[in-house]
Amino acid sequence: MCKTAGLLALLGAMAGGRLASQATELQRLRARVDSLSREWTRAGAIADLADSLERQRAFSGRDTIAVGSLRIVTDPSPLPVRAAAERAWPVLDSLYGDAAQLLAQHPYVIRAFDPDTNAPRPAVYVGLVVPWDMSAATLARLLVANAPMPPPDQALVSWLSGTLRPATRAAQDRTDVYLDLVTAPSTPARACYLGGLRDCRAALGLQSDGDALDLWYPSAAERRALVDRAFTDYFDHGASALTLHACKAGADTACEALLRRLPAGSLPSPLGAQARTTLVRVAMEMGGRDAYRRLVADPRAPMADRVASTANATLDEVIARWRRAILASRPPSVALPWWAVSLALGWAAAFGVCALRSSRWRLG
C-alpha cells in the first residue's frame, strides 16, 4: 500500500515537473513568435517605404504618353511607345470594356536602355525595362500582357489560376481546350464533349453542390489514373507510400483516401485553367462593354452566377456557346493537303529525272 502511494507520488512529481517545463517552453515560444511578428511588421513597413521611394523615382522627370486610358511613363528614347500603345489600347479596351478606364489610374512605367552598350544598367524595381530598338508590335504585346489592371478578387484568380489577360493566341487556346475535352481522363469532360451541358458545368468547376472528387472523377479507373499520373511523387513516401501501392494495385478505397488527403483546392479539375479562361472570354463577348465590371462586381457570389452575370445570360447559354466555339476549333486533320501531295510527287519525279540524266553510259 505504501509502495503504491510512493509510486503514485513519484509519478505525480514527475508529471508536475514535466508540465511546468512545458509551460516554460510554451512561454518561450510565445515570446519568440511575438518578437518575429514585430520584426515582420517592421520589415513590411521598410519594404513599403522602399517601394514608395522607388515609385517616386520611377515617375519623376519622365514623359507621360496617353492613348485612350493608357498612361505610360517613360524616358525620352527612340522606343516606339506611342505606336505600341495605339496597338495595345484597342485590345485592352475590347477585353475590359468600360473597366479599362481604370488603367488611367495605374500607369505603366517603361525604361528604355541602349542595347548596344555593355555599360551596367541601374537596378530598376518598378516597371518594364526594354531595349529601345524593340519593335512597336513586340512592345504592344508586352503592354497587353502586363496591363496594370487592379487584380481581381482572390476567388476569381484562384478559379482562373491567374488573372484575366487579353488573348494573344485565342484560336490556339480553343484548340488546346478541344484536345483537353477529347483526351481528359474524366467522365464529365467526355460527357461534355458529347453534349451534356450539366457535365460541362461540372468539368469546368462550376458545380454549385456535391463533392468535387465524386463529380469530377466518378469511377475507380479515373481516380487510379489521376493518382498514377499526377500524385505518384507526392504520395510515394512516408505513411502514404503503402496506400499508394495499394491504390496502384487496384484498391479504389486507397485511391479515394489519398485524393481526399490532398489540401483543399489541390484536386485538379478535369478541364484546366485554359478551358475556364476561354469560357470567361465567351461570357465577356456575350456581355458587351460592361461585362468585366460585372464579372468582378461580386466576389462572394458563386462562380457560376458570376459567369452568367458577365454574359447577361443563363449559364447554360454561355456553356452551350463556349462548347460550340471549342468544337469548331478542332485541330486540322492529319490528312495531307493537296499541295503537299503534289509537292512530294513533284520531288519524286524530279529525282527520277536526275536518274534518267545520269552520266553513266556516256561514252567517250
Binding site: 478541344y178 484536345l179 475535352l181 477529347v182 483526351t183 481528359a184 481522363p185 474524366s186 467522365t187 467526355r190 464533349y193 458529347l194 469511377s219 479507373a221 479515373e222 489514373a225 478542332r330 485541330p331 486533320s333 492529319v334 490528312a335 495531307l336 503537299a340 501531295v341 509537292l343 512530294a344 510527287l345 520531288w347 519524286a348 519525279a349 524530279a350 529525282f351 527520277g352 536526275c354 536518274a355 534518267l356 545520269s358 552520266s359 553513266r360 553510259w361
Partner: protein, 218 residues
C-alpha cells in the same frame, strides 16, 4: 521487256519486299494494340494517342529504308556486271532506266498496300473513344509518297557513277565538318539549320517525312 525486268527485279529484291510488307502490315496493328480489347476504358484516349504517336515515328523510317534498299537492289547487279548486259540491250539508256524505275516502284506498291490493309484492319477491330478518328487512307497516302520520294532519291544516287555518289556524300560530310569546326572554334556560323529548314521545310524535298504520322487522331 517490262515484265522480264520486273521479274528480275522481283528476284533481286523479294526478301526486302517480303520483310517490308510484313512490317508495313504489322505496324498499324501493333500501334493500336490494346485499343481493341474490351476492358479498355474510353477514358484512356490520351494514352492511345501517345502510343499511336510513338509507333508513328517508324513509318517514315520504314518508308526510307524500303526506298533505299529497293533502289540499291535495282542497280546492284548492273553495277556488279559493269553494265555490260544493259549495254547489249537494244534500248536507249533513258528507257532502260525508266523500266528499272517503274519496276522498283511497282514492287514498292506491295508494302504500301500492306500499310493500307493493316491500317484498315487495325481500325476496324479497334474501339476508339468518342472524339478520336481513324485515318487509314491518309496514313497510307503519306507512306506511299514518302516511299516514292525516298526511292526517287536513292534510285538517282544508285543510278549515278560511284564518283557522283562520292561527290554527294563528300559535300554532305564537308558541310557537317565545317559546322563542327565552327562550333569548336566558337564562331557564330550556322549552316546546318538553314539547310535543314530548306530540306525539311514545307516545300523541301523531304518535307513528306515530317508531320504527324497518326493512324488515330482527334
Amino acid at each position: 521487256m517490262f515484265r522480264v525486268m520486273l521479274f528480275t527485279q522481283w528476284k533481286w529484291s523479294r526478301l526486302i519486299i517480303l520483310f517490308g510488307t510484313i512490317a508495313a502490315f504489322a505496324l498499324p496493328i501493333i500501334s493500336l494494340q490494346g485499343a481493341a480489347s474490351a476492358d479498355r476504358s474510353p477514358l484512356e484516349a490520351q494514352d492511345l494517342l501517345r502510343t499511336v504517336q510513338s509507333w508513328g515515328t517508324l513509318y517514315p523510317v520504314l518508308a526510307a529504308a524500303l526506298g533505299l534498299f529497293v533502289a540499291m537492289a535495282a542497280w546492284a547487279p548492273d553495277h556488279r556486271g559493269r553494265h555490260v548486259h544493259a549495254l547489249t540491250l537494244p534500248l536507249p539508256r533513258w528507257r532502260y532506266v525508266l523500266l528499272r524505275c517503274a519496276g522498283g516502284a511497282l514492287l514498292l506498291a506491295i508494302p504500301a498496300a500492306a500499310v493500307f490493309a493493316g491500317a484498315l484492319l487495325a481500325t476496324a477491330t479497334a474501339t476508339l473513344p468518342p472524339g478520336l478518328q481513324s485515318y487509314p487512307f491518309a496514313l497510307a497516302t503519306h507512306f506511299i509518297l514518302a516511299t516514292a520520294v525516298a526511292y526517287g532519291v536513292f534510285f538517282a544516287v544508285s543510278a549515278a557513277t560511284p564518283r557522283t555518289a562520292g561527290i554527294i556524300l563528300a559535300a554532305v560530310g564537308a558541310l557537317i565538318a565545317v559546322q563542327v569546326v565552327a562550333g569548336v572554334a566558337n564562331v557564330n556560323f550556322d549552316i546546318v539549320s538553314p539547310l535543314t529548314l530548306i530540306v525539311l521545310g514545307p516545300a523541301g524535298p523531304f518535307a513528306i517525312f515530317t508531320g504527324r504520322w497518326m493512324l488515330v487522331d482527334v
